[in-house]
Amino acid sequence: MEIKPPVPIIPAPIWRNIKDLQEWEQLHQKRPEGDKHSVAFESITEGIHSFPGGFVVTTGVDAFLNWARKSSVWPVTFGLACCAIEMMATFASRFDVERLGMVPWASPRHSDLMVVSGTVTIKMAPMLERIYAQMPDPKWAVSMGSCANSGGPFRHGYHVVKGVDRVIPVDVYVPGCPPPPESLLNGLLLLQDQIAQFRRTGKRAAPNPKVD
């Protein structure tokens, strides 16, 4: 079994100054689309597939990994506007997303989920894109509220991005202005349902929520 090197080869993250960090980030952004599993895992999967009946094992492994993924979705604490207040309420003890395995984490490098909570301005969009790029794969994004979905009441403003899906790919859209914590919780459950059907092909599974 041949272990393929990553494409392109990403140097070890030794940052002496900010320029090194920027270079490292650029290399990470150049990674081909669909690089969701590690290279070693990909090789093992291919190896197992060549055995008779091996796909049963890989399906099991995938299901297990997806169960692990959906049970520990860590959202990055990234609030933009008034929706962030509802997001904080959802993360706090009354609604308690920690029972779903979600720990609001203050670092994009350890997070799997970005809840875009609020109006994305044109000036903020590059920073948002950068934070999203800093998150490790596999990663998901939830667009929360009318502003992040489509620009909302500020759609005709000169400074507003008309929907955050013009900046980053979005998995779940939560409507509302702002959405109450119940709505966001519903969206997060939907996302977990999507993650449970996650495949390395990169195709989005059709949501079939049991929560609605």
Partner: protein, 150 residues
């Protein structure tokens, strides 16, 4: 200093000024008297507090620059205005008189494109440096395509 005294002083010194209002004095001066009136208000009327500065786009009548200065000791407030005239976007800066006018006039430049003569550092403050146009002008098309996110 009472409002009546201030009115008389302004009338004596600036003949071209229109004075309105009872509690908040609204003084409209010609564009050439903009900075002299500001230093007069600061030194002789005691309005040392620069409250804000902004502009109004009156379409074909041109732009109007507005600033409010306060005398915090006597409660005298002066709203100073000047009409720049149609098609004109140059105005004297108030930064040599009030240092607090710096960012206000930068915002005014950002939103209305008024070039303040004598401003030390006139560049955009709220929008990005690569922004095209001045969005609070009435002639600014709202749905102007602006790369890369629109």
């Amino acid at each position: 200093m009472t409002h009546e005294q201030a009115k008389t002083l302004i009338g004596e010194r600036f003949g071209g000024a229109q004075i309105e209002g009872a509690t908040l004095l609204t003084v409209t001066v010609p564009a050439a008297d903009w900075r002299p009136f500001a230093s007069f208000a600061k030194d002789e009327l005691g309005c040392r507090f620069f409250s804000f500065s902004t502009a109004v786009d009156w379409k074909e009548q041109g732009l109007e620059v507005v600033a409010k200065v306060d005398n915090v000791d006597t409660g005298l407030s002066i709203l100073m205005k000047t009409k720049l005239g149609p098609g004109v976007s140059e105005c004297h800066s108030l930064v040599p008189v009030f240092r607090g006018a710096d960012w206000m006039e930068r915002e005014c430049y950002d939103m209305f494109g008024i070039r303040f003569d004598g401003h030390p550092d006139l560049r955009r403050i709220l929008l990005g440096d690569d922004w095209v146009g001045h969005p609070l002008l009435k002639s600014y098309a709202v749905d102007t395509p602006h790369p890369p996110y629109r």
